[in-house]
Symmetry: C2
Subunit: 338 residues, 2 copies
């Protein structure tokens, strides 16, 4: 298997990306096709003593400014590392593409260059997030701020396939993010999506309240991209604030500092468990080939883990699974998804 | 000033409500008009030794089942404590109404019985919530799942007036809950609301991301009721989960138990600071007279505090303030709010 890797995406590129690739090749037996400035990649590898064995390089030296919009990146910087990677994937030069770069650009580029799975209305950004025990998938986490109900149905189908085939959650529970658990809750979008999800054949557990998401309301949380993005970001914001407050508390006086020393290791473990950077990243789901978003802050180990998931994304035949599920629903319910 | 109080709303009614009323009368020099079963009120007061001085009772003995819908409560149980209280307020028998009962019923009843401030499109449920330092108001927190942009503008105007006049936040910063901070973010609703808020004369700070709400993004967070409800409930859900994890961590072994003993008091303080039950409750804002929702779990002290805020709601002339602001906007922008 050959995975195309954006060597210049994320906060710690290219060094940590190269390190992560090295680790992944050695552990998971994959080949890597790097995109980005060949000169910088070679210099970085040499300086850090990273062997480039089993790594090819596609020279794509164009640099993106931090304030460029996703659209302009993809339209005007055709030889930046991300656009080049997506093109190589579309051309069949690799089995999947992974980038720690700008999510918006990745979604936009996947749409434009890799295209969608036939029958799929919208590509979604679907982060895997921590909950009390384990994780859940949020679909959509922000790619589509305005959605129709048939898109929400597809988010459920796609999230379900991914959790089953990649994350090892058989028959995942799909819940619709709503303002209450009763069937009639929400607005028109939720009412319609509820009906579609109910006859989808998915393991639909109904409406779920935001309050129950961090506990264990569902394995796949279906939401329009606006709501999903609010969930994603508030989740992070509240956790950051609370950890900040705990830190302040522990630094208050000698007594609290002693307490901090006693639980330091456990606290770090807990923080790590909640850090969504440690989790499964986010498939750019609905693209016709596997495209994966690693976290922007990913260091070598996290990036290695993201490559492992990308490999599973290919091997789990998630795309075929989604195609079949969509075709099956259309057949049974007469083009309701069309 | 006479405040009408639903003696049978909330988890600890009527005992804690009566205790809270007693404390409020003694501290804030208000008169109280209680609604609910006069017999039970008198029995409870006598048994607990609570003086009913300066408290009148309006006998409204009809009982609500827990599974009744807000609409059926208000339509069919005209002599339950909440409906009676709203009616007494509408008839001018008191200056404000406060209840710790069902929020949905209170919003619906306020609409039906007290009516809206002229020019106001929708009554909002506007909880005051904790952030890193102090608090913010969420408007709307869930009364209106589907909103138009002119309603969002009014939520900003109403929240602003309340924070200024009741909570002592002069010139409050109003932010629009969105999926990013850039001006063009969001869907049609956000684009339109952004424009209206920008020319509103409010201290509009633009779009805010959910990630920044717990820090200090704005004093008034404007959102449609669906988004607002997701924010309200996820906020609570994440905090509950994190505190649960910390509790588990502290119980892990002798070392962590020792640490727990050292920070127990500080932790409780922190938890209390974050407990939105300790905060300002939620005005049912937009109603033609002051209607206030105290937390369902309110005990005497919290309820007393809610009465203090209800008094400030009356004395701050918030309703007049809102009326003027709405009229002023209409005059300047030619019926944009109509």
């Amino acid at each position: 298997m050959k995975i195309v890797v954006d060597a210049f995406g994320g906060d710690h590129a290219p060094l940590e990306i190269l390190r992560g690739c090295r680790m992944a090749i050695d552990e998971y037996d994959v080949d890597i096709l790097l995109t980005g400035s060949e000169m910088v990649i070679r210099e970085t590898a040499e300086k850090d003593g990273i062997s480039l064995a089993r790594m090819e390089i596609f020279d794509a030296p164009e640099v993106i400014a931090t304030d460029e919009s996703p659209k302009s990146i993809m339209r005007e910087k055709k030889n930046c590392s991300m656009a080049a990677g997506l093109r190589l994937l579309a051309e069949g030069k690799g089995d999947a593409f992974i980038s720690a770069g700008n999510s918006g650009a990745l979604v936009f580029g996947a749409n434009m260059i890799v295209h969608r799975i036939p029958g799929i209305k919208r590509i979604a950004f679907a982060p895997v997030m921590p909950k009390h025990d384990g994780f859940f998938m949020l679909c959509d986490g922000g790619a589509n701020v305005e959605c129709r109900s048939d898109m929400l149905l597809q988010f459920g189908i796609m999230g379900s396939a991914y959790l089953d085939k990649v994350m090892g959650v058989p028959n995942p529970r799909v819940g619709l993010a709503n303002v209450g658990t009763e069937d009639h809750k929400g607005g028109t979008l939720q009412h319609e999506a509820f009906e579609l999800l109910q006859k989808s054949g998915l393991n639909f557990v109904g409406n779920i309240e935001a309050r129950d998401i961090p506990a264990d309301a569902a394995d796949v949380v279906v939401a329009d991209g606006f709501t999903g993005n609010v969930i994603l970001k508030l989740y992070e914001g509240v956790a950051i604030e609370l950890f900040g407050m705990i830190k302040e508390l522990f630094q208050k006086n000698l007594k609290t500092k002693l307490a901090a020393a006693l639980v330091l290791k456990d606290m770090r473990g807990m923080k790590k468990r909640l850090d969504y950077n440690e989790y499964g990243g986010a498939p750019i789901i609905g693209a016709a080939k596997p495209v994966f978003k690693a976290h922007g802050s990913a260091k070598a180990k996290t990036f290695k883990n993201a490559i492992r998931l990308t490999k599973a994304y290919v091997e789990g035949h998630v795309i075929e699974e989604i195609s079949e599920a969509i075709a099956c629903f259309e057949k049974e319910h007469g083009g309701q998804v069309e």
